[in-house]
Symmetry: C2
Subunit: 306 residues, 2 copies
């Protein structure tokens, strides 16, 4: 087995934190896994699940750790690292799993001691479930993990720190990509933030209709709506923080979405069948590319039982 | 086995037509299954797949059939039945599977002989795939099938015809509901037509961006976007006809969606975290209800392999 670190610390034991703990153990990426969560009930659950050494004090959790992985919502990153930064060991590497990168870079860099290395990251993996029970070891298998090294960090050992974080994620089964933090935020606004926003919006809207009841929506949801409810079941705190912290990129792509939707609305109003057909036909191609790139299953209906 | 009909005819052998043929045979809902499709290549494929007795002439396909099931796009229903209505037997029942009901009721009623019974219907089932090869016998299992009997048909035998169509769908494994055609169109605009429109829109938009490439979108699509590509892979002709034929209900619900999205956009712009959180939290509840109603799998990520 290829042990990458002797000791890591995971701060925040939700779906991602618990999955990292399980994967690091299962694939031998770390000898000792220390865990901390601000919520005492979550710490207890992490103990019951045997995810690693659970600490009630974040400073004790990170002491002696070579790698600290911040697995809290984007808006809580700076507070989480501030609560334990005094006991970070010299030369420790800090990384994170936030879905927004530039805001995390700014907030965490501002509070981090100068003698540690910060290598921001984002695993393109997850499910609609949350909490320590939702974690599983294979979550990162064959998924992309994006690292956004700090362009301004010119210390000689920084490149080696980036390599070591990449090696850790590869040990968990992920493929690692490097990207500029701001570029990450623009790309993810398209592939992740906007899709979630739209799903939240349509599901919340459907609860509020005057002329169609919620039970009708639920009953006939297999005609398309149910797919949106899965994404909309994701953790609300995590997503609130994403939108608050990637505001500009999200607003820009949302403007584009609304503009295109208005054009589609107009084509429906005026009965422009050819416009609709060619747009729908184009959209179909993208599905084939996603499947060919190994980013989704080719099984009809995702292989779910109806 | 509970044979419902001695002879049925299926007009249009795509995903739905082929699934009905397979299910009717497997569950003994019909002794003889006659098939016709306007496309010679599809007829040949239906023969190769052994879906039933395939005819090159629609009049021959429906002759002597007690039940004729129209499985063509909504805009092609009237033409499909006109092409064979002269050879419909007296007292035959005609049904359809269109995703829009009032427009089909109007179009088909106008061309149907007075000596047959028209019982419009819509199975809430499907996959993103199309064509005869995509059909499978269990497609309708535990899914709703909505019948929208004609309010104006007061013939004594009409109620019995409705019952017999319901019995047919129950034999295929579906649960049958009755609904007014216009009500159907409003409810499905919410649960099906709007979700598809949004999925088509976001996927087509993503192909056209100036600052994010198509290959980036595909590569990182597992962060949410890929789910939309599945729905957007549905048959473009079918969906063009849905939007052209359910225009008013779709435009109304689309207006509501855009209004709510504008409010969400404003909350992001002004950093209103509480508004975002409470909306996302509400959306989450709907997922639980969908699962409790048996309308989706509780498995994380639909059980697909990552």
């Amino acid at each position: 087995m290829n042990i990458v670190y002797d000791r890591i610390a995971i701060i925040g034991v939700g779906l991602i934190g618990a999955s990292i703990a399980r994967a690091a153990r299962e694939y031998g990426a770390a000898n000792v896994i220390a865990l901390y969560d601000a919520n005492p009930a979550v710490r207890q659950r992490a103990r019951d699940l045997g995810l690693g050494e659970v600490f009630d004090d974040p400073e004790k959790a990170v002491a002696k750790a070579e790698l600290v992985v911040l697995c809290v919502p984007v808006g809580a990153m700076a507070g989480a690292i501030s609560a334990c930064s005094r006991s970070l060991k010299i030369g420790a590497i800090v990384t994170d799993v936030g879905s927004v990168k530039q805001a995390v870079v700014d907030a965490v860099s501002a509070v981090l001691p100068s003698y540690v290395y910060f290598v921001p990251g984002h695993p393109i993996a997850g499910t609609e479930q949350s909490g320590p029970d939702a974690g599983f070891a294979t979550l990162f298998h064959n998924r992309w993990h994006i690292l956004t090294p700090l362009p301004g960090d010119e210390r000689e050992a920084y490149a080696a720190a980036v390599d070591q974080v990449a090696e850790f994620w590869r040990a968990l089964g992920a493929n690692v990509d490097l990207m500029d933090p701001q570029r990450h935020d623009v790309v993810l606004a398209v592939t992740s933030h906007l899709p979630h926003l739209i799903a939240f919006n349509i599901v919340a809207m459907a609860e509020d209709l005057e002329n169609v009841t919620e039970s009708e929506v639920v009953k006939y949801s297999a005609s398309g709506f149910r797919d949106f409810t899965r994404i909309a079941a994701s953790d609300p705190t995590m997503w609130r923080d994403v939108f608050l912290n990637n505001r500009d990129a999200v607003l820009e792509i949302l403007g584009r979405f609304s503009e295109d939707l208005a054009a589609l609305q107009r084509a429906i109003r005026w009965g422009e069948g050819d416009t609709l057909y060619s747009l729908f036909d184009r959209a179909r191609r993208m599905r084939r590319e996603v499947i060919e790139a190994g980013q989704d299953t080719p099984a009809p209906n995702w292989g779910r039982e109806n």
